[in-house]
């Protein structure tokens, strides 16, 4: 068989075909994808720039920012710990509520519930995801806080308190934990359950000693994500925990009586940002710059938690593939 003469021409033609339109489309699609990079850089740039301006201000010292325990912008005291205390305290309360509730929900839905019960309970949890946080804030202030004040006494429990905020943030992150944990448990191969049943294990033993350990990294990842969500939560804490930073003095204040009193209010990082920005804030003032320094702190905290969670998940995947 002899090759036809124009075969080579054909090949050249194919190779040199240019499709300008196609290229333009691909380039614009790429740019759409690259916008996300621009967003990240924009966040880092703006937060970093303003934070830098903040630390350059003469009343601020970066050492004091990270080491002192009074946040009082009017008086020129910028110690971040009271805000971190508020943030972490509410996060811890939220997790104390949401981890047992969320995990129980996941275990029950995944290992016990009949399809019918599941069909009722699961959508209920999904509805919870869709409720705006400001509505949760309303709920904290108009139901949970009065309830707490009714139970523990109006004189004990302040109108703004971290307990109410923490409980409601907990309710808000339950579906996050339960759905991620349930996904992790659903990924546990059924053959493991069968093996355990075949050994004469009870349902509880299968659930707690085979399925949960096998899904542990997925569950842990979910808890970390939920924690990140609680740290960044804004409206509930602003409405329910009040606008006063819980300044403290480690030397004189009692740990449980004052510093960790759940019945009093405490401002969080997000709470301070929102309250400061909701006034008519002027650019290039120390207030304006301070919210960006706090925003950067918050960004780093949540980014760390999210990457941690992703790393845990990655390890989990490797186990089963």
């Amino acid at each position: 068989m002899t090759p036809r003469v124009d075969d080579t021409d054909m090949a050249t033609q194919l190779r040199t075909t240019k499709r300008p339109l196609e290229r333009a489309v691909v380039v614009s699609l790429f740019l759409a994808g690259a916008i996300s990079i621009a967003v990240t850089l924009g966040i880092l740039w703006e937060l970093g720039k303003e934070a830098l301006l903040f630390f350059q201000d003469e009343v601020v010292s970066i050492g004091d920012f990270f080491t002192t325990t009074v946040w009082q912008p009017q008086a020129g005291s910028f110690g971040i710990w009271p805000l971190i205390l508020g943030t972490l305290y509410i996060t811890v309360i939220a997790l104390v509520v949401a981890v047992p509730v969320g995990l129980s929900a996941a275990i029950y839905l995944s290992e016990y519930a009949s399809p019918r019960v599941r069909g009722i309970l699961k959508p209920a949890l999904e509805v919870l995801v869709g409720i705006p946080t400001v509505v949760f804030g309303f709920f904290a202030l108009t139901f949970i806080t009065p309830l707490l004040r009714g139970v523990f006494g109006v004189n004990t429990v302040g109108f703004f308190n971290v307990l109410s905020a923490g409980l409601v943030v907990g309710l808000l992150i339950v579906p996050l934990i339960s759905s991620l944990a349930e996904d992790a448990m659903a990924a546990v191969p059924d053959s493991l359950r069968q093996a355990a049943y075949g050994l004469g294990a009870s349902r509880l033993e299968v659930a707690l000693r085979v399925v949960v350990p096998a899904a542990l990294s997925g569950i842990a990842a979910g808890v970390v994500i939920a924690m990140s969500r609680a740290v960044g939560e804004t409206m509930v804490v602003t409405l329910a925990a009040g606008a006063s930073p819980r300044n403290f003095d480690l030397g004189t204040d009692s740990l449980f009586g004052t510093i960790l009193n759940p019945f009093e209010g405490a401002q969080t990082i997000t709470g301070y940002i929102v309250i400061t920005a909701s006034g008519d804030i002027s650019y290039d003032t120390i207030d304006y710059n301070s919210i960006f320094a706090l925003g950067l702190t918050l960004f780093i905290m949540t980014l760390t938690l999210n990457s941690l969670s992703r790393r845990i998940v990655k390890r989990f995947r490797q186990e089963y593939d």
Partner: protein, 467 residues
Amino acid sequence: MTVQAPERPDVGFFPTDEEYVELLDKRTRRGAVVRTGFLALLSVAVLGLVILLVTIVDDSFGLVAVVNQNEPEAVVAAAGYDPATTALSDLSKEDLVTSLQGTISNGVGRRLEREQRFFEDRLVFESQAKWDEVCASDEPPSGCTGGARDTSSVLLLVEERVIQPDVVAVNGMIPSVLDGQGFRDRIESEFITVPEKYPDYTFDQVRFQWRAWLSWKFITSPSSSTPEIAGISTAILGSVWLVLIAVLFAVPVGVGAAIYLEEFARPNRINDIIQTNINNLAGVPSIIYGMLGLAVFVRVLEPITSGSLFGDFAPNGRTVMSAGLTLGLMSLPVVIISSQEALRAVPNSLRQAGMGLGATRWQTVRSQVLPVAIPGIMTGTILAVARAIGETAPLILVGAAGFITVSPSSPFSQFTALPIQIFQWTSLPQPEWRNLAAAASLVLLILLLTLNAAAVILRNRYSRRLT
């Protein structure tokens, strides 16, 4: 009843039959207890949801104790009708305007008339000469060009200006239904025991009536500094504007990015970074997007977002435009990720079929892959919209105005939005505002549930079609 165990010469370290039965009993009991525990804890979450919903509905309706400056019956009687047979809403427009004339000052009347006149053919508060003069000026008021007020809007004015209701106490829906008399008795005794709570009135002036805080009037009236007549039309319109801008930005960009990542991107470093970055952005708290919006859209891009580049509109960059773009940025990762999932669900055979016919990759994507993925993309978009509608913190950062009674009319208008309205009403001390916040929350929840239901229906249809 248990199963007979086999005879075994050497039971070894295993429990004997009796021991096993006992052990099994214990394990079964423990299982039942723990199972109940799981269910109980799960119920905490469901109970929380139920109580939340009940709280909101409970606060949206109920008995109120109200004091009217002028009783509606008196207004009807003053107009020459029998209050026993005629209600305020039965009065004609003429009668209502007359009643207004009798109560409000001429100055207020003139202002109202300049806003919108009462009759097509005659003026009520203004003299014809002055009217002509005002309308001939450089900036004629809206009353010069618009038509006349209709009866229902005049009725609203009468209620607001003549009757002037003042809610002095509120009661939730459930206690109102179960024990309305209890509420009445409580208020009556409070007038005696804590008179300082009601300094302006005597108990004789108090009327008890059923009030639906969530009503058509509430949805269609603008905000107001008086809780009795405040509504959410401005806020609803603001939210609509925001979502529109957010969607117009996030959907083309997000779907484009998803198509790039799923259909064109080769696994190299840059594309890896883009993908990781998108996943990271999805976890960034919304308040951070607000700060980005504040720094970039409100401040740096002020000439654009305030509209001053296009002829002066707003005094600063705190406009619908800035806020909409901020919400758009925030929704972007969600839209990208869900669109990617939708594209991934399209069977590869479709792509092969398209390319096998000699179509280019883009032709295949555009006419074969994308149409199949559209329902999935829409589902993701709806969910992103639902999330954006409920967001509050970023809007506060980009300066959603607190008190606005004028509906936004362009991308460069100042605005308020439903969640902002809820936030502000919740933070106010007087209890009536709580009821408004509850009613607005109920509107927001109904809106979101509808959107979510739409997404679920779409998803179900979609998955059925693919299999």
